[in-house]
Amino acid sequence: MKIDDQLIKQLSVLISERGIDLLELTTSDASLSLQRDTGGCSISRASVLLPSEVGSRAPTTQASAKGAGNYKLTTPSPGIYLDRHPLSTQPLVTSGASIEAGQLVGFLQISSLLLPLRSAEAGRVVSLPQEPGVTLGYGSVVMCLLTAGRS
């Protein structure tokens, strides 16, 4: 599969129609990342990495999207968003809390499996836009953070 303008247009239509927030595609030639804007009507970010850049990318379990002065934590997989462990009565973080890089801020439940939602950066939690218990697609934003260096 070759990543070209036509494919990007096709995928842009597809993710808008299907309500997908973030699409990442890696082929032997390049890697494509498409992110839908918050209104869900157009592509806010499209980036293509060349083969040399693809090879240097470390595998990540959580896609992240940085904007000016903030960091957004996104889901690494479709699943049910949890703001606390199923045994706990308290949420892991609340809006306004200061968190450290690597801190656990939620879970993604896939059937009986729990995946961690960890912040890649330190900072102050600006918002937690998802309702606990909601089923999310890949790349959905679950936390917006004002990063420590910019607060």
Binding site: P59, T60, L87, Q109, L113
Partner: protein, 324 residues
């Protein structure tokens, strides 16, 4: 290798149990919460039968003498690794020198510390479980002490970390939240008891007294009275059997139960629910629900399906991570 670096009591090495030796007078032993042990093993790509450390008195501290994965399941002990919180029912990686601290248990009473390939202690009569009565199995057939060290059987280990499973108490809830409920089959002497005692058994809550341990749980509640005094010859018993001594206060045989007993048998906690009993703290209350044999078999199948789902999901996620 891990080392227990604090004074501790009642911690033992356990696997799923020692079967086939009742005829020699050797009880089953094995984990009080077999589902928690199995899930911990699955998180590490182990066989569900591999041995782990069963912990039941906290706080407790362990030190890792080499880098290894480990899984912690069962009761939520608010565990931390070098001060960093770990979720319950989770697989993690520790580096050499790291300290694992377990705090007061909530949502259960026993936790399981699992290592890749299981805990390396000798196999005795087909099991690594500690047989306390016979002083064999596990680590020298005894409770663990400060300074005890264990190695993982699988030293070359790769696999996923930082994932967990939804505890079965959440996936397969039974009865009122906060009140341990277990399903029971009426046993051979059930019909010998007054109807009022039979009704009270199902309707009342039963307190787990302080005279409860891995051998058995002594309960307190409405006395169960036979229609006429019962004389029963000693006969074979297994974990889950509910006996009634002359004072009418029932005893549930647990994993370290002796193979024979002579008290009348009122009922049997079904095999599928023994893990719920294993996590019921002393001082809390129990409730019994009557089921049929077919329902008991279906409950066991449900446990097996839960474990199969965990195994499949861990395999799928590990595969995804390896191909990333």
């Amino acid at each position: 290798m891990i080392e227990l670096i604090c004074a501790s009591v009642l911690a033992t090495v356990q696997d799923q149990g020692r079967f086939g030796s009742l005829k020699f007078g050797v009880g089953n032993s094995g984990a009080m919460d077999q589902l928690a042990l199995a899930a911990g093993n699955l998180l590490l790509d182990n066989a569900v039968t591999d041995a782990a450390v069963e912990l039941q008195v906290f706080p407790m501290r362990w030190r890792f003498h080499e880098t290894t994965r480990f899984a912690l399941t069962g009761a939520d002990t608010r565990a931390t690794l070098n001060g960093r919180p770990l979720p319950p029912w989770w697989v993690s990686r520790a580096s050499r020198g790291d300290c694992l601290d377990l705090g007061r248990a909530v949502n259960g009473s026993r936790a399981y510390l699992c290592l890749p390939g299981g805990i390396d202690v000798p196999m005795v009569l087909g099991s690594r479980s500690t047989q306390l009565r016979g002083s064999f199995g596990g680590l020298d057939g005894r409770f663990l002490r400060q300074g005890d060290r264990f190695s993982a059987i699988r030293r070359e280990d790769t696999g996923c970390v930082d994932i967990g499973v939804v505890p079965p108490v959440c996936s397969m809830p039974l009865g009122e939240r906060g009140l341990t409920t277990v399903r029971v089959l009426p046993a051979s002497e059930y019909a010998c008891y007054h109807g009022a005692s039979q009704a009270a058994f199902w309707a009342c809550e039963w307190k787990i007294t302080s005279q409860s341990d891995r051998y058995g749980y002594r309960l307190a509640g409405e006395p169960l009275l036979p229609k006429t005094p019962l004389e029963v010859r000693s006969h074979g018993i297994v974990p889950g059997v509910i006996q009634v001594p002359p004072d009418g206060q029932p005893i549930i045989q647990m994993r370290d139960a002796q193979p024979t007993g002579g008290y009348p048998k009122f009922g049997t906690v079904i095999e599928a629910d023994l893990w719920r009993l294993g996590q019921a703290p002393i001082g809390t209350r129990l409730r019994f629900v009557e089921v049929t044999y077919d329902e008991a078999v279906a409950a066991r199948a449900a446990n097996q399906r839960w474990l199969q789902t965990v195994r499949r999901l861990v395999d799928v996620w590990a595969g995804r991570r390896l191909s990333a």
